[in-house]
């Protein structure tokens, strides 16, 4: 099972580049795609989901070009888009039956799969209720169910935890981890903690370009020795922020505990700490991106 993205680019009207020379090879596991808003994540997702055609490069699924022959991938694709629409007059059961027909799943197998998925997303009691009357979180769960309906080999989920409460988010992360055994899962988000909990591989994207692609531990190793914590007076916080990339601040009785990125020790009392994914993200994607990525490489 292999998804190969080779030098893919997408130019929109008026020469706006949505994606630029993007290359990545993927095998089974969860890929966490991280980047700021407008980085090109959704463009890449839509290209991989065969909805948008790239203007440059090619994408192959098990050796088949998905632009020339999209139906091969479509049969094995599960896609949860960022803005997920529903038909308000259909119930969850009917909507999933409709999607099952669109995906060409055999009637009996489809019924069984729907039953299991409705249990999985805990919508058994609401299966006959019109989708228009469901809450945002419940609709999102219907979205998750439809993405899993055809037992996809490639599962693409774009901002999947939007609308879910914190408990549901944790459960969804676990679900993704469980599912990732024999399939490729691509999780696009800008919630770093979602990726940290599930991804076996991480790709950072900014301004349409792939900045770095590595396993989480490799990524964090690159930031080792550059993350510092120390306490500053509240009045000095702005000055610190202007000099360093601050990843977190916690107010305490004796001042503000600052967590910041810096190549050298930023203050005599600053102590090096173990980096997390947010630190790595900030190092590669924050405004001083070019400088940071050059240094890290």
């Amino acid at each position: 099972m292999n998804l190969s993205i080779q030098h893919v680019g997408k130019t929109y009207r008026r020469s706006v580049r949505g994606l630029d020379d993007f290359s990545l090879e993927l095998g089974p596991g969860v890929l966490g795609l991280l980047g700021p808003n407008g980085a090109g994540k959704s463009t890449l997702m839509r290209i991989l989901a065969t909805i948008t055609k790239p203007t440059d490069g090619q994408v192959t699924w098990n050796g088949t070009n998905i632009v020339k022959s999209p139906d091969g991938l479509r049969a094995e694709l599960g896609y949860l888009p960022q803005d997920f629409g529903i038909y308000p007059n259909l119930s969850a059961q009917e909507f999933l039956e409709y999607i099952g027909a669109a995906k060409g799943i055999d009637r009996a197998a489809c019924r069984r799969r729907i039953d299991e998925l409705l249990v999985l997303v805990n919508l058994t009691d609401a299966r006959k209720r019109p989708l228009g009357g469901l809450s945002g979180g419940m609709r999102q769960r219907v979205g998750i169910a439809q993405a899993l309906l055809n037992d996809p080999k490639l599962l693409i989920v774009d901002e999947p935890t939007a609308g879910l409460d914190p408990e549901e988010r944790v459960r969804f992360r676990n679900l993704l981890s469980d599912l990732s055994g024999e399939r490729i899962v691509i999780l696009s988000t800008h919630i770093v903690s979602d990726v940290e909990a599930t991804a076996t591989h991480i790709a950072l994207i900014n301004k349409g370009r792939l900045i770095v692609s590595a396993a989480p531990e490799v990524l964090m190793k690159k930031v080792e020795g550059r993350v510092w914590e120390w306490i500053v007076a509240s009045s000095e916080l702005n000055a610190v922020k202007s000099r360093h990339r601050v990843s977190a601040t916690i107010r305490r009785s004796d001042g503000v505990r600052v967590r910041a990125l810096s190549d050298a020790q930023p203050a005599p009392e600053a102590q090096p700490v173990t980096p997390n994914l947010e630190d790595a993200y900030l190092m590669f994607v924050a405004p001083a991106t070019d400088e940071a990525s050059t240094k890290a490489a």
């Binding site: 839509r46 989901a49 065969t50 909805i51 948008t52 055609k53 139906d71 479509r74 049969a75 694709l77 896609y79 888009p81 803005d83 997920f84 629409g85 529903i86 038909y87 308000p88 007059n89 259909l90 009917e94 409709y98 999607i99 027909a101 669109a102 995906k103 060409g104 799943i105 055999d106 009637r107 009996a108 197998a109 069984r112 799969r113 299991e116 249990v119 999985l120 997303v121 805990n122 919508l123 009691d125 609401a126 209720r129 009357g133 469901l134 809450s135 979180g137 419940m138 769960r141 439809q146 899993l148 055809n150 037992d151 879910l164 408990e167 549901e168 459960r171 969804f172 676990n174 679900l175």
Partner: protein, 531 residues
């Protein structure tokens, strides 16, 4: 009321619309309209004539004639172009933001009316400019008089379009008229306003388009040149009148133009006041984007639904740890066109309750009525009844934002699009089957053939328009006009075999059109898939 607030409300809405690709297409249509409204003397069609006479194309005649024609056409087409101002705010969520500002309901409806008007006035301006070019292109009179050319557009067309703008806002704020019912109903309102008897055509009267002001003047000028011309019994042709064979043979008279009187101004002012009053009245049913519902019954129903949903949401979370999904056998995947058609059919009939009374009653009428009445009355009504169901074909994915999910499923053209059309054909068959049986019993093979073509043509038209416009409005307007024409026994437009003595070639023509529409729909969907 703050004029600045009104101005900015209208301006933002205006910019949002005119910066869309569709508006540019509408402007191109206006340029073409300016050209088409002024055919040469020897032509197969005329747009404005009295018996066999028309005025010389000078600034006055061009201005007056085109301003009336433009008022008629843009008030119809323009309604469907601008009737989305409130809906857009509702869909984009901007309305929720506006609802939290101090802007009043009256300011909002007035602002939207002005924005609608600005769009239609821009279109009118383009037609007027095209007329200037046309005067020199036709070259019947090369003396250009700016006041005579443009004053009819300002005094006749613009008040009519202000009316259209206000009517569009009114339709958007009344819940019943907001959707397809309103789109269909407007055709009848428009027909009544244009065809209504507002007074004598020879002595002048006040009507929305201002024909009652201009036409008496044209009659007088015509009579001065042709003494035998009798305004009392003259036939006035206004619109696109195509001659079956050969060209029209018209003679011309000279008309110096309008002398606008205080009475004329007062008449036009009445329509302007009426338009603003209607825009004000629209504020009464406007819900200010409160989705809680207006009627007590609806509120209770929604509250019960909400409570039940909250109960379920409170009881359940996302997953339970011991659920295991059965792997899907790869052989359990196939074409399943039948299942897709069934699913599309369910979408068509979902939520219909009292709707079935119509086809049932019409089915009984088709059994009981004489065959002539069955084909000319029952069939057009039976096939007009499902207009709002057909108008959803090809638009659902866009309206409900399910495109990403369905377009990433296998075979979106050969399976999904085909199933959508076939489900539409099933609706034609279900609503017209009794009529078809009557044709079979009567042994009328031509009527049966026309019926079959009609059953295929209607969903093809709906699908093509739906795919390209991503809205049901175009189909609702065009199909209503088509059905109206059929009921009025317009033989060339008889796509269903309802007009006595309609051309034998009609089934072949509409069959070919069906094919073209299906190709157009496929092409349109293909473009969406490859964006």
């Amino acid at each position: 009321m703050t004029p600045r607030r009104l101005y900015h409300l209208a301006r933002a809405d205006f910019y949002e619309r005119v910066r869309r690709h569709g508006f540019f297409v509408a402007l191109l249509f206006c340029v073409y309209a300016g050209y088409a409204f002024l055919p040469p003397l020897k032509s197969r069609y005329v747009t404005l004539s009295m018996d066999s006479h028309r005025g010389v194309y000078n600034s006055a005649y061009i201005g007056a004639a085109v301003s009336m024609l433009c008022g008629a056409f843009i008030s119809l087409i323009g309604f469907y172009i601008v009737k989305n101002a409130v809906e857009r705010d509702r869909r984009t969520g901007v309305g929720q933001i506006l609802a939290t500002t101090p802007i009043s309901k009256l300011q909002y409806t007035l602002g939207k009316t002005l924005s609608n008007f600005a769009v239609l006035a821009t279109m009118t301006g383009i037609v007027a400019l095209a007329c200037v070019v046309m005067q020199f292109l036709r070259a019947e009179d090369l003396h250009f008089d700016a006041w005579q050319m443009f004053s009819p557009f300002i005094l006749l067309t613009l008040p009519a379009l202000l009316m259209t703008s206000a009517v569009a806002v009114f339709f958007e704020t009344v819940p019943l008229l907001r959707g397809g019912i309103g789109n269909v109903a407007f055709i009848f309102v428009w027909g009544a306003l244009l065809g209504g008897n507002f007074g004598s055509m020879t002595n002048g009267h006040n009507d929305p388009l201002g024909t009652g002001i201009v036409v008496p003047e044209l009659f007088r000028a015509c009579q001065a040149t042709f003494p035998h011309f009798d305004p009392q019994h003259a036939s006035l042709n206004m619109g696109i009148n195509i001659r079956d064979e050969g060209e029209w043979s018209l003679t011309t008279y000279h008309w110096a133009g309008m002398k606008w009187t205080a009475q004329h101004m007062l008449w036009r002012l009445e329509w302007i006041v009426f338009a603003f009053a209607l825009a004000g009245i629209a504020a009464i049913p406007f819900d200010r984007f409160d989705t809680a519902g207006s009627s007590l019954k609806v509120r209770r129903k929604r509250r019960r639904q909400r409570e039940r949903t909250e109960e379920i949401a409170a009881e359940t979370g996302l997953s339970v740890s011991d659920v295991r999904l059965t792997p899907l056998d790869r052989t359990a995947r196939g074409a399943r066109l039948g299942a897709m058609i069934l699913a599309e059919w369910k979408l068509i009939v979902r939520g219909l309750r009292w709707w079935y009374v119509g086809p049932l009653g019409l089915g009984i009428a088709a059994i009981a009525a004489p065959i002539g009445a069955v084909s000319s009355i029952v069939l057009p009504i039976a096939w007009f009844w499902p207009v709002l169901q057909w108008s959803k074909l090809g638009t659902r994915e866009a309206v409900h934002n399910t495109e990403p999910v369905f377009f990433s499923a296998p075979h979106p053209l050969s399976r999904q699009l085909a199933a959508t059309w076939i489900s539409g054909v099933m609706l034609s068959v279900a609503t017209g089957v009794v009529v078809a049986l009557r044709f079979v019993i009567a042994g009328d093979s031509h009527a049966l053939l026309a019926w079959c073509v009609g059953a295929l043509f209607i969903p093809a038209l709906a699908l093509a328009l739906g795919v390209w416009t991503r809205s049901g409005k175009a189909f609702e307007a065009i199909y209503t006009a088509l059905c109206y024409a059929v009921i009025q026994q317009a033989a060339p437009l008889d796509f269903m075999g309802a007009v006595q003595n309609s051309p034998r070639s009609n089934p072949a023509i509409f069959g070919l059109l069906t094919l073209l529409l299906l190709l157009l729909a496929t092409w349109g969907r293909q473009r969406r898939l490859q964006n």
